[in-house]
């Protein structure tokens, strides 16, 4: 006699399925990688600063670039589900919808992190960046910031599935809500790069943001998905 699978088990299974599908088709990752590369290059053409200036603006530019790449990635996430009518299958299954949400969010987190791993070295090269502050802090900021973008982004991507002009609706809804997180990630990055200020408050703010919105998303996901 087997017990019902735990939330975590279902999440992991769903996530593994997504990653395997993604690995086989490679369509989303490839287009996103190229998009990320383009964004970095184009921004570099637009802004050609000295070393001192570059430390001040690189944070803002990098996170804006990642934000746009994330939106492209997010729109992808649910399209495949719709195409294969997987949403209906999930709704019929006894599995908790939170598992679906978590697996999607973690999947997006991994994808965006891969993008960052590509984009950041490019930024460093193009802007001759060298951080005044400790690099491990930048890593923490990146983890918290990426989760902040991805958790709300995944939720709202699900939200905007059935809406007219879906592609523009997602950023329109996502950006205002994300402003405090964006402010935090940009200012934290700039603080660390220039060494002018302490990023600790911003890191705490990002942690609070992540906690609050992960909870809200998990709580609200079920009524939303059942409404589709």
């Amino acid at each position: 006699m087997t017990s019902a699978p735990s939330l975590w088990a279902i999440t992991r299974r769903s996530l593994v399925k997504d990653l395997r599908l993604e690995w086989r088709s490679k369509d989303a990752i490839n287009s996103m990688l190229f998009f990320a590369l383009l964004v970095v290059v184009i921004f570099s053409f637009g802004f050609d600063p000295t070393a001192e200036e570059s430390r001040k603006i690189a944070g803002g530019l990098l996170w804006v670039a990642i934000l746009f790449a994330t939106v492209v990635a997010l729109n992808q996430t649910w399209t495949r589900e719709i195409r294969n009518q997987v949403m209906d299958a999930y709704r019929l299954s006894p599995a908790p919808p939170q598992a679906l949400f978590l697996s999607k969010t973690i999947g997006n987190f991994i994808f965006v992190s891969i993008l960052e791993v590509l984009m950041v070295p490019l930024f460093v090269v193009f802007y001759n960046l060298r951080s005044v502050g400790p690099v491990w802090q930048l890593l923490v900021v990146a983890l918290l910031a990426t989760w902040a973008l991805v958790v709300n982004g995944t939720f709202f991507a699900a939200l905007s599935i059935r809406t007219r002009s879906r592609e523009i609706m997602l950023p329109l809804i996502l950006f205002p809500i994300s402003i405090p997180a964006l402010l935090a990630m940009v200012d934290a990055t700039t603080s660390i790069l220039t060494g002018d200020n302490s990023p600790i408050f911003w890191m705490r703010l990002l942690a609070v943001y992540d906690l609050v919105f992960t909870t809200v998303s998990l709580v609200l996901f079920e009524p939303v998905v059942n409404a589709e």
Partner: protein, 232 residues
């Protein structure tokens, strides 16, 4: 009901008139800023009313997700619309006040900037409501209303910290500045007046939202009848 509505309308007009007198004539002229400071008596109450309306939207959104009632959804829509209207007023009167006093239209003042973000959030709510199609829009909007309101304290904390890191002029005086007691009269009368005005707007818009819903149902019913008749 009609009589109640009409008498509330009269009360609103009276309050607005008296509030205007308070703001323009009865309240004393401010020492350093002069008469321009009187904008404050419209600026601050509008901000409080807008915030109250967004709170109502939050409550209505939560209620809608629990009960799925048409009334809750109508209230959410009405309060968001009127809230955005008052919030727009705050964002325009703020810079108009700032310009002659500090010589700049805009400053990343914590309160004004937080208001801007608040405005953006609820405008995105209205965009979702008006441009998204599908019978599930009320559910999605309710979720967005909840997200938006939960975000507000975080927005305020973030921008306040940002401001202490990058100091700028503060509109309306810093934390320490108090108001002359006679000035409080003007603030409170106008608060009552604009709260009544908001109440009237929401009342009307709420009723209209309910009727809109009924009309939609009637249309759907009519086309159903038409089809069944055609089949006969």
């Amino acid at each position: 009901m009609k009589i109640l509505f009409k008498s509330c309308l009269v009360l609103t007009a009276l309050l607005l008139g008296y509030g205007f007198c308070q703001a323009m004539y009865i309240a004393p002229t401010e020492a350093t800023m002069g008469d321009v400071q009187r904008i404050f008596y419209y600026h601050l109450p509008s901000a409080w009313v807008a915030f109250l309306l967004f709170f109502v939207n939050f409550l209505a959104s939560v209620w809608y997700l629990i009960r799925r009632s048409v009334a809750a959804d109508a209230m959410a829509l009405a309060s968001a619309e009127v809230g955005v209207s008052f919030c727009t007023i705050v964002l325009i009167t703020g810079p108009i006040w700032a310009r002659p006093i500090w010589g700049i239209w805009w400053t990343w003042d914590a309160r004004l900037t937080s208001t801007l973000v608040l405005w953006l959030i609820y405008v995105s709510y209205l965009v979702l409501r008006h441009y998204a199609s599908g019978g599930q829009v009320p559910v999605l909007a309710a979720a967005l209303g909840i997200f938006g309101f939960v975000d507000v304290p975080i927005v305020y904390m973030a921008i306040r910290w940002f401001r202490t890191q990058h100091p700028q002029p503060v509109i309306g005086g810093g934390q320490g500045s108090g108001l002359d007691p006679t000035m409080w009269h003007a603030v409170l009368w106008n608060l009552a007046a604009f709260a009544m005005l908001a109440f009237m707007f929401v009342w009307v818009r709420y009723r209209q939202a309910i009727v809109e819903h009924e009309l939609e149902e009637a249309h759907a019913q009519a086309s159903l009848d038409y089809e069944t008749e055609g089949a006969q």
